[in-house]
């Protein structure tokens, strides 16, 4: 099916792009279109103007900055992130995630920023970015704001971004411990996913802190707070029994949507299995003392 007609702008600066969307009744930023065009073809989303951000210099850069944070331009494709040497070296779990989003065609053009801005609950990147404590840079008419990835997605297909605010950058603190991402899926989108990031002391014997996020099973990625509390300050060798002691209660606290991916009990079960496998992985790749 064809989308409805629209104007098509190709600005070369962030300012022009923001102005282009703002002056339109319901203009939208556009890059890969892998989510947006599907919705437009189904006539679920209408727009009278698409503002193509692919011609804006600098939105596809990846680098390690002076503060030892990793910067990923919002219009980096999944394929680019998957093969980037900086990401491979510092966050291999993110390389691997991006190398497995949907399929090769989606990865060629689909972007990490587009994925986040769509707020699709059954998505890969939001869960891991939340676990990594990523910050998102939004530029609008009134200036720039930086928001934690945890707060960005409000609910299903809903984010805190204003329509004429452009997501320009994803900033990750460089991890100092094992990072894992695991998912279970029937089709191309994750049914349930679990991301975990530990910070480890210099001797690799104790977990200083842990961020654990479960995604896809509810409307947005959610923290497993009881698990995080149990892991804080814990010797690595005591991790498994500590998690098993709180896991059932922690999973019960999650908001779960029953959908075509499965019922609530099933999804909670999957999350628990994925978490325990992630723990084994974390211990073997970097947390083992």
């Amino acid at each position: 099916m064809l989308p409805s007609p629209f104007e098509f702008d190709r600005p070369s600066t962030i300012e022009d792009a923001i102005r282009g969307v703002g002056e339109s009744g319901d203009g939208m930023f556009y890059s890969g279109g892998t989510e947006l065009l599907l919705a437009m073809k189904m006539r679920v989303i209408h727009t009278d103007r698409l503002v193509d951000i692919k011609g804006i210099f600098g939105l596809d850069r990846i680098c390690l900055n002076e503060a030892n944070d990793i910067e990923i331009g919002a219009r980096c494709t999944h394929a680019k992130i998957a093969s980037d040497p900086v990401i491979r070296e510092h966050v291999p779990a993110l390389s691997s995630l991006c190398a497995n989003v949907a399929n090769i065609r989606v990865r060629s053009v689909g972007t990490i920023g587009g994925n986040l801005c769509f707020g699709e609950p059954h998505a890969d990147p939001p869960t891991l970015l939340a676990a990594l404590n990523a910050r998102l840079v939004l530029i609008g008419r009134d200036g720039t704001r930086v928001v934690p990835a945890d707060d960005f997605i409000r609910s299903e297909l809903e984010t805190i971004r204003e329509p004429d605010e452009l997501l320009t950058l994803v900033v990750l603190p460089c991890p100092n411990g094992p990072v894992t991402y695991r998912r279970f899926q029937h089709g191309e989108r994750p049914s349930v996913n679990v991301a975990m990031a530990w910070s480890i002391d210099a001797g690799k014997a104790t977990i200083k802190g842990a961020r654990v996020r479960v995604g896809a099973l509810g409307s947005r990625p959610q923290p497993l707070k009881l698990v995080e509390d149990a892991l804080r300050g814990l010797p690595v060798r005591e991790v498994r029994p500590a998690i098993e002691a709180v896991l059932t209660t922690a999973l019960d606290e999650l908001e779960v949507n029953e959908d075509r991916h499965g019922g609530a009990d099933y999804k909670r079960h999957l999350a628990g299995v994925l978490l325990l496998r992630s723990v084994e992985e974390a211990i073997s790749v970097g947390g083992g003392a």
Partner: protein, 162 residues
């Protein structure tokens, strides 16, 4: 109201310049406007791979790509990888190994495999499965397709010309 934009691009090595409505999809431009019917529409949602074409050498779903987005770029379709006097080495391998039955998914598979072998001339079994994961075939059960690609993957580098 219809919005039109001029675009110019290379299609299978030929320069084409025309005006398109902004909401035209690449698959419709290729099939209906330009008459190249080898590219197939199937799922219409980027899942099946039947509409795969190459954009600057990378596989994309033409069903969910705007025609205005190929301005100044290079598109290759199944017609563009088929020599005038026969079949490409990828196509020959599919025939030889029985990698098709009804043939509807085949143009998409040929495009994806062509891109794979260009990027990775000797892919491992795992690389083949990973790359072709997003192309669906409802006839072959994939084994014959896999064997066809594997036969190409193990060919010597000197035989790699299409």
């Amino acid at each position: 109201m219809t919005h039109m934009l001029p675009i110019s691009f290379w299609l299978n090595g030929q320069v084409i310049a025309l005006n398109v409505p902004t909401h035209t999809l690449l698959i419709d431009l290729i099939r209906d406007k330009l008459g190249l019917k080898g590219t197939k529409r199937s799922c219409d949602m980027e899942v099946c791979g039947a509409c795969t074409v190459l954009l600057d050498g990378e596989p994309i779903s033409s069903c969910t790509t705007l025609a205005v987005d190929i301005d100044q770029r290079e598109i290759t379709t199944i017609e563009g990888v088929t020599p005038p006097d026969g079949l490409s080495r990828v196509q020959k391998a599919f025939v030889l190994h029985g990698g098709l039955q009804c043939g509807f998914c085949t143009p998409g598979f040929i495009m994806a495999v062509t891109a794979l072998l260009k990027a990775t001339p000797h892919p491992t079994d795992e690389e083949i499965r990973h790359y072709l994961h997003g192309n669906l075939c409802r006839c072959t059960g994939y084994t014959k397709i896999f064997e066809a690609v594997k036969s190409l993957a193990s060919e010597q580098a000197s035989e790699n010309a299409i």
